[in-house]
Symmetry: C3
Subunit: 343 residues, 3 copies
């Protein structure tokens, strides 16, 4: 179970409650009033716990598990140990995630404005907000309802935040509209002017960056990530997209809906990332490039041109992932040949 020093558990819950909450069907013959008191992975769960089987690799662990209940696809029902209560779903990991959220809801330490927070007299703060110590809220900032602003965070003049959104400690935000249910982690910097210069030998002249950053609903942005504001057009992060830690997003970048961008990836100016695209860690994408919807980029890919919808690419310069594997095999063969020559 989670360390009570940091986590507060709710529950127990009956199987009926969890089935309804997650949209699963409880297998026939199971007692809907049976209680479970926590979540746990298959190999650590006991009779009090609810677990899940998603990846078929873990079928053996499932067969041997002592979990009292389990989210699972119906086709694995026969393999379940005796006495395990099965909750059927075609997306058992999603059900598990929702259940874990139910047991461990996001800690809401109560509303209120800390005594050392500094809020400009022209700022508007909605009902139920929490503003932590040392936070600085600038002129004409508007924050919706039930938001939280972390300790020592800085919201610059004019920033607008929707409802139920969270800005982490030590983050700074300017020139930005933030939607609803957005999670911005700690140490995130949004809205600084992008890297725009008229370059010349006599010295680079700064080009004013006159756009904004638009962050739609349900976006999550990881710790230490930087998002520059647009040059005149805006930088835009589409609804539901998830951005990991230490990512760099340049001016005018357009990220579609439900995209996933893993840690330390960098996206140069004016590039477009399609809906549902998944970029692995440490990927680099050049400026003015179009990454189609549903594209998958392997970690460390270096992308310099457009990639069509649904394609999987890898390598640097990135190529279709099958070609990348072929290149890797061919290189290994060449190295082997050199090695035999050396011997």
């Amino acid at each position: 179970m989670a360390d009570p020093r940091f986590f507060t558990r709710q529950g127990p819950f009956t199987l009926a409650v969890l089935a309804e909450y997650t949209g699963c069907r409880l297998a026939d013959g199971m007692d809907p009033e049976r209680h479970v008191s926590d979540v746990a992975p298959l190999d650590r769960a006991d009779a009090e716990h609810v677990s899940f089987l998603d990846n078929p690799k873990y079928v053996d662990t499932f067969r041997a598990s002592r979990a009292g209940a389990c989210f699972v696809r119906e086709r694995y029902a026969e393999l379940a140990p005796a006495g395990m209560a099965l909750l059927f779903s075609e997306d058992p990991y999603r059900c598990y995630a929702l259940t874990a959220q139910r047991f461990y809801p996001v800690h809401a330490p109560g509303e209120g404005i800390a005594s050392s927070a500094v809020i400009d007299s022209t700022a508007k703060i909605g009902k139920g907000c929490r503003i932590e110590h040392g936070a600085v809220i600038g002129a004409h900032v508007e924050i919706g309802e039930r938001c939280s602003i972390g300790a020592n965070a800085v919201l610059h003049e004019g920033v607008r935040v929707g409802n139920d959104s969270h800005v982490g400690a030590l983050s700074s935000i300017s020139h930005c509209y933030i939607g609803n249910r957005v999670i911005i982690h700690r140490g995130v910097h949004i809205g600084q002017d992008g890297f725009g210069f008229a370059m010349s030998r006599e010295g680079h002249v700064k080009v004013p960056q006159l756009g904004r950053v638009m962050i739609d609903d349900d976006v999550e942005i990881g710790a230490g990530t930087c998002i520059d504001r647009g040059t005149g057009p805006d930088t835009h992060i589409g609804a539901g997209s998830k951005i990991d830690n230490l990512v760099q997003i340049g001016h005018n970048v357009q990220v579609g809906r439900n995209a996933v961008i893993v840690a330390q990836t960098g996206i140069a100016g004016s590039t477009r990332i399609g809906d549902g695209a998944v970029l692995g860690g440490q990927v680099g994408v050049s400026g003015h490039v179009k990454i189609g919807p549903g594209v998958k980029l392997a970690a460390k890919s270096g992308v310099m041109g457009d990639i069509p919808a649904g394609a999987s690419y890898g390598g640097s310069p990135a190529v279709p992932v099958k070609d990348w594997h072929r290149q890797t095999i061919a290189l290994a063969r060449m190295a082997r040949m050199r090695r035999s020559n050396e011997e």
Copy 2:
């Protein structure tokens, strides 16, 4: 036009004023007293706007543009739409940048020391400075005139800052001399001790880092960037150099004048970057290497040896950029051959 929530526009200005300010020549027959009220790109400009043509790719956009005025090289004059006032320059983008600065001067929200800033009694703050809420200014810090220190920024003991410089919110600076007109964005960390250890199996022993960071005039440093202080020699960033977000600069690194270092690049200890060198995003340079003046490194280059002045390199390990393209083509051919074998 830029969102008035975040930007305050000056003007309008006459063409005569802009021509003088940017050093351009107004084409014959144009009315020098004609006014423009804003900047805009060619495709979005109307009669009230001044635009620019720099990249010849956009000649067709230029021909169709409704911009009232345009910075352009004289040789394109014949292609201009009727009625467009032309401002001739061999560096039209630079003129546009200066003009945009004139319309949208950097927002200077007024001098003064915020009530929650903490300033050591031995620190000296020049005239016209702005110190924002929660900033912490240590003992013996000296700040010149007309500087601004952002909210919750931390200047450690002894740091010296010239005139007209800016330190962003949530940045920390120690062991550092900062010149004039330097822009340090938010979340920048300068002067921490570099990664120096006498390594051994029994445990790594920390080597005291006894140098400083010297930042010359007109340098700009992007959000989230880290610059370690020297080991005894100093780390040095030359005048006019521009460093993007999330860059890592190790101890004793020497960056020349007017260099450009794009986001997420890392430069290891004691390496020297020549004047005017341009390093693309996610480049890595090993320690103790010399990158000559004017060198260009493609994004994601991995540099392990010296590179002569003026050369263009790419790949990892980096090679002359033409060889890198040849390697890429050869690899693609090998992958194709494997593919046909598979079929």
Copy 3:
């Protein structure tokens, strides 16, 4: 000598004191009561300074050095200039590091709690601690003796810190146990929830991250680095490990003892790094991978599979370092062949 604006020097010390402090043997015939007043590299040292010879590349510099004293392996004794006092050790760099620490001990600006620090009434702060301005210490935090917490740093609810540890300015820490003599630099973010989602086209569901971050004794963590907490298991950094700036460490990662992780490296979830492993800069390691003890990874390596103990790997995808060099040579040859064809 180090800039007295930033560094305070102790000493002078006699050779006898330094020999005892570092465990060296003073060469026969040298006066143990002779004093040295500072450390310096061989080429800048004079009669007042103590230096070191570690890398045999610098033997000529050693022969010509004017240093009054020098840590050196005994086998180089014959090459020493006349009058130089030799301090024999098989690890002269380590002795030098310890000596430099003696001359320039870490600046301890005195204990006390700054007036603008905010400390929850349920937090426990040990004797001799220093809490700087604007720091925010949450409920039930426990800090041991002689710790320092930098300006505007944020320790969230329940965090526990051992003795003699340091948290840098503008860092945030949650869900974390920190050992003794740990150094956390500035702008570090530890304990945020990792990047865990049940992904689906209808929107990614957040998976609660119910683990912690455990940081053992003598760990050092560089500026801007992010370490996510575990999913249920913990993220763990073993004793004596040194992590550089802007590193990303995902949930459930296990780093062994005395590992070294250079700047901008990223380690994906559930990966294990063995004792004493050394990861160069900008390395990327996939999730669920085992890097054996003593493994060395060249800068920019991309690791997608397990690596056995003691091996040296490089390239992306990473291969044994000799094979990587062979690949590089083979690629260079192919590019040369294409070039001749072009001519």
